[in-house]
């Protein structure tokens, strides 16, 4: 294979607990997607510890990604990085690596919105063009769709994110991180053994959801010890997923789009997938879910979105490359869409 025939983008992802490096051609061929996760000894993500982890593994992950792609650094055309939203210390670590690489190789730097990258990799991998997207992860719960130059937010959480809600409950219930199995997967496993629906709060406000009351009520039921853990995991999922499914259906009916895309870390959940499939069918739309490898935070999505942005004339001068902790997707122009 003649490497010079193609143009390549290397993408760095480091918004939270994953440090990832991916390499994509300008046509969306993913040549590498390597990541290393910070697993806290106890509790949730400690931002400073996560950043320390990222700094430690950065070299190894970079080398492995280049190895897997068969490329040399000099083959790269641009460096993309997730500029936000996310945790400050984690973001800054990735941004520093990206700036160093771009200046050393003397190639352009492209700052990418992490949430938009989740949508773009989903579209690439499922072949969808103009979906209503439900993006659910540890830090985000967003229902969006494209209109006039930007992705517009139709619904979102007004307090905590869906993945966060499930993770915190799982930790309270004593579930442990296992290698290759996120906390959410452990909860999902237990939920499949639940049978009885426990009454919990269901809060939908317009197209927004509120999950903090549901989490508090679930933990309180857990501490009372009157229900089986399996039933609680099952009920928590049923309530939380029904809420996000309801607002997704409303956005679908409102926008009259014909595709649904499920993306982000929680997209791997089979029960959530099943619910959205039913909704899509009922609204005469096609249901699509991002493949598991690209569901959680990954470098490939940053690389691909970087390629899209660069092809449309976007790049980020170093002096404008500060990380943006709370960068909303509706603030970002996406000239590559349509």
């Amino acid at each position: 294979m003649k490497k010079n025939d193609k143009t390549y983008c290397l993408g760095i992802e480091s918004t939270a607990d994953d440090f990832g490096v991916g390499i994509s051609t300008f046509n969306g061929e993913i040549l590498a997607n390597v990541s290393d996760s910070y697993i806290p000894e106890k509790g949730g993500i400690h931002p400073r510890e996560a950043a320390r982890h990222h700094a430690q593994v950065a070299n190894t992950v970079l080398e492995k990604a280049l190895d897997n792609s068969g490329l040399k650094p000099r083959n790269l055309k641009i460096i993309a990085f997730s500029q936000g939203p996310g945790l400050g210390p984690s973001l800054r670590t990735g941004a520093t690596v990206a700036r160093a690489l771009a200046s050393y190789l003397n190639i352009p730097l492209v700052g990418i919105n992490h949430s938009i990258a989740h949508i773009e990799i989903g579209k690439l991998k499922t072949g969808t063009h103009d979906p209503v997207t439900l993006y659910v992860s540890g830090g985000n719960t967003i229902v969006s769709a494209y209109d006039s130059g930007r992705y517009r937010i139709f619904g979102e959480t007004i307090d905590i994110a869906l993945g966060n809600c499930l993770d915190v409950f799982a930790r309270e219930a004593g579930l442990k991180h296992q290698k290759g199995m996120p906390l959410g997967a452990a909860l999902e496993e237990l939920a499949t053994q639940g049978e009885n629906l426990v009454h919990l709060p269901y809060v939908v406000k317009g197209m927004d959801v509120s999950l903090s009351g549901l989490l508090t009520a679930s933990i309180s039921m857990l501490n009372k010890g009157k229900c089986k853990l399996e039933d609680l995991c099952y009920s928590l999922q049923e309530y939380a997923f029904s809420m996000v499914a309801e607002v997704t259906e409303r956005a679908l009916a409102h926008t009259e789009k014909k595709e649904v895309l499920l993306t982000g870390g929680v997209a791997a959940n089979k029960r959530l997938q099943a619910m959205l499939k039913v909704i899509a069918d009922e609204q005469d739309a096609h249901f699509n879910v991002v493949p598991r490898e690209f569901a959680t935070d990954n470098g490939a999505m940053i690389a691909w979105t970087g390629a899209l942005a660069y092809k449309h004339g976007l790049s980020t001068p170093i002096e404008e490359s500060n990380v943006r902790l709370r960068w909303r997707i509706e603030k970002v122009d996406v000239p590559w869409v349509k």
Partner: protein, 223 residues
Amino acid sequence: MGEVIAQTLFKKGAEASLHVATWNGRKVVLKTRFPKRYRHEKLDKNIRTYRTVHEPQLMNEAKKAGVPTPVIFQVDLRNSRIIMEFIEGKQIKQLLGSLSPNERKEMCTRIGEAIGKLHKHGVIHGDLTTSNMIVNREGRIFLVDFGLGEKSKELEAKGVDLHLMKRALQSTHYQYAEECFEAVTKGYAATVGEDRTKEIAGKIREIERRGRYVEGRKDDEEN
């Protein structure tokens, strides 16, 4: 009780289906909350029953507050169905774009007044969008779709309600969302008073910042 004849589906929403029909010689809307197959059966039944019971109550409260809503003729809990008056008119969603900037502002001010009246009376609409507002032939603004509403006098509930209005303007009428919401706030203040409005505006900012990824928080100063 009267028989329903000649049903035609005119809107299949996500939450309910709306049919136009004739009932005792009147033109009516049948709002039916059909079962949702994606939800657990028990949860689904609870949600549909709860909303079918509460929606007419809130519409009635809204009327007492001086905000026009369709007249309720019948509530059928077994089928989660409400029969209500058909309002001849146009959704504000369709209307807003065809108005001149001044007319648009005036319309939004009147929306704000209506929301103010609801809140003053302790009614939270729960889904304030321009699709849920109908202007009839005489130019009166009717509010519909109270299924997600509640009775509350809490600042938090009012703040979320107005926040939803703002968000709906931003997603659907993004070209002039800002001036529209400004006019909504003006009308709201004319009804509930400046002080109260300031308090609620502060609450809206708090709600917006509570969402995890919103700019303008203190910890945003970056390097």
